[in-house]
Each structure stands twice: as structure tokens, then as C-alpha cells.
């Protein structure tokens, strides 16, 4: 970690998009690490029973990927705020390749020592998070 992690951020800066693959194995691992064992994230039977199109990623897994991108872009800057709506499900097939989630972002402003980042999180071209955003100490 550098001493002034996000010192390089400037308003208007476009952050280099990241692509992360998500597989069923990732969801199982996240379930264990987070304590969220909701079966809609690993059981096709339960997912179908509650009307979902298939096993879906935890919204918080997708948000964790957003936080990962922020950490990578800012070299581990302190996050002051993070938020998003879960607008579309990330359906994760039961195969070895899974799906790809793409993280894009821009720096909206840098003022008073805080950088405001606007993110865009998509899967198959569809936005899966609504108004994903982060505020980091610059």
C-alpha cells in the first residue's frame, strides 16, 4: 500500500474497466466467508421455487467486486462511503466458466480530501447495480 493511495485521482478521470469472472464456486466461497447461506445463491431448486431465473450471485458479492475495483483503482484508499441498488440479477450458470461482471468507473469530483467515484457494473451488457458509487479519502 502506498502512503497516499488515491493522490493520483483527478475529476473527470476514467478508471480502467475491470472484468471479473463469477462462477458457482465463487458464490459458495463467498457464502462461507460472508455467512450468507441463502440457498437462492447455490440451489437451482430453491431459486426456481421463489421465481428467480436461476441461481443468482449475492448482491453483496457483486458489491464486493465493486469494492475490489475501487481498491485496485485507488491502491487501497480508505473507503468512506459505498452504496448501490441491486437492480438486475447476475445469473450464474452451473459450469466452469460462469459469467463475467464488468466494472467501469469515473472520478466525478475530488474536493475536501474526498474523491467521489461513479461506477458502472454490467453483466452481458445489462446494468446489474443501480447508482453504484464510492467515496474514498484522496
Amino acid at each position: 500500500m502506498s502512503a497516499s493511495p488515491s493522490a493520483g485521482l483527478a475529476a473527470g478521470q476514467v478508471l480502467e474497466a475491470r472484468t471479473y469472472a463469477v462462477t458457482r464456486a465463487d458464490l459458495v466461497r463467498y457464502a462461507g466467508a460472508s455467512g450468507d447461506r441463502n440457498p437462492i445463491h447455490w440451489s437451482d431448486r430453491v431459486a426456481a421455487a421463489v421465481g428467480l431465473p436461476g441461481v443468482i450471485a449475492h448482491g453483496m458479492f457483486t458489491q464486493a467486486l465493486a469494492a475490489r475495483a475501487v481498491a485496485e483503482w485507488t491502491d487501497g484508499a480508505e473507503v468512506v462511503e459505498l452504496g448501490a441498488k441491486f437492480t438486475n440479477p447476475v445469473v450464474v450458470p452451473d459450469d466452469d466458466t460462469g459469467v463475467e461482471v464488468v466494472l467501469a468507473g469515473t472520478v466525478r469530483s475530488v474536493e475536501d480530501g474526498l474523491a467521489h467515484l461513479a461506477l458502472e457494473v454490467t453483466c452481458g451488457g445489462t446494468k446489474v447495480l443501480g447508482n453504484p458509487r464510492a467515496v474514498v479519502r484522496a
Binding site: A71, V79, E81, G83, A134
Partner: protein, 134 residues
């Protein structure tokens, strides 16, 4: 089954103290491929571990099955960074409740405080309870 509107404003008993350990933070970071080195920044969504435990207690209390919950929104606002060694408790408050098309839209706020009772992080969630005819 719809939830009772008198829940709004109610704060549920705080969770048992949770000690933030290097091992759990590293495991959580690794699960999403997030870079983490011991002593470094704890992943920003890590407090969901605490908020999720508080939510489970709440759902048990009001008799809602987790599989009928879909997460609508999640926000974190930090008063200070979490650090390994923190001993944290979390208290969930029902902030809002409305019914749309047979679903309950539950707004919750979970306040995470340290062993001195000082605020560390406030997390807000929107939970969609798919009521329907089960």
C-alpha cells in the same frame, strides 16, 4: 404474510460482540479476489458480515424465511475504518416499511459500534420480502 407497520422505528437487540480477526478479513477479501495484506484496508463491504447477522436475528424474530428475501439496496457510511482487533456489535433498526404488490419493502439501518460504544459504520439496506402465495 405482510409485516406489521408497527415495526417501523423499532430497534432490535444488538448482536453479540464480534471480534474482527485477520483470518476472517483475509478470507472475506479472498472470496471476491480483493487485494488485502495484513494491516491493510479491510474490504469496504466486510461489515455486511455483521449486518447480515443482525438481519438474520431480525428475520427470525419476525418469522420471515431468508429464501424469501431479495436484497434491494445496500449502503455503507464509515465514521472510521474497521481494523483487525475491533470488537463490534450491531443493532438493527427498521427504518421504513411499505407494501407493493404483495411484497414488503423493508428499509433497515444497522449501526456498528466498537467496544467503547463509539460508532464505526452505519449500514443501510432495502430488503424485499417476496410475500406472494407461497
Amino acid at each position: 404474510m405482510s409485516l406489521d407497520s408497527t415495526l417501523v422505528g423499532r430497534t432490535f437487540p444488538a448482536t453479540s460482540p464480534y471480534r474482527v480477526s485477520e483470518e476472517r478479513v483475509a478470507e472475506f477479501a479472498a472470496a471476491s479476489g480483493t487485494p488485502y495484506t495484513p494491516g491493510g484496508q479491510v474490504p469496504a463491504t466486510f461489515p455486511i458480515v455483521l449486518a447480515f447477522a443482525a438481519m438474520n436475528d431480525f428475520l427470525d424474530e419476525v418469522g420471515v424465511d431468508l429464501s424469501r428475501i431479495v436484497h434491494g439496496e445496500q449502503k455503507f457510511a464509515y465514521a472510521r475504518p474497521l481494523v483487525v482487533g475491533d470488537v463490534l456489535t450491531t443493532a438493527l433498526t427498521v427504518a421504513s416499511l411499505r407494501q407493493i404488490g404483495g411484497n414488503d419493502i423493508i428499509g433497515t439501518r444497522s449501526d456498528v459500534t466498537d467496544a467503547d460504544g463509539v460508532a464505526v459504520c452505519s449500514t443501510s439496506a432495502v430488503l424485499v420480502h417476496r410475500g406472494g402465495a407461497a
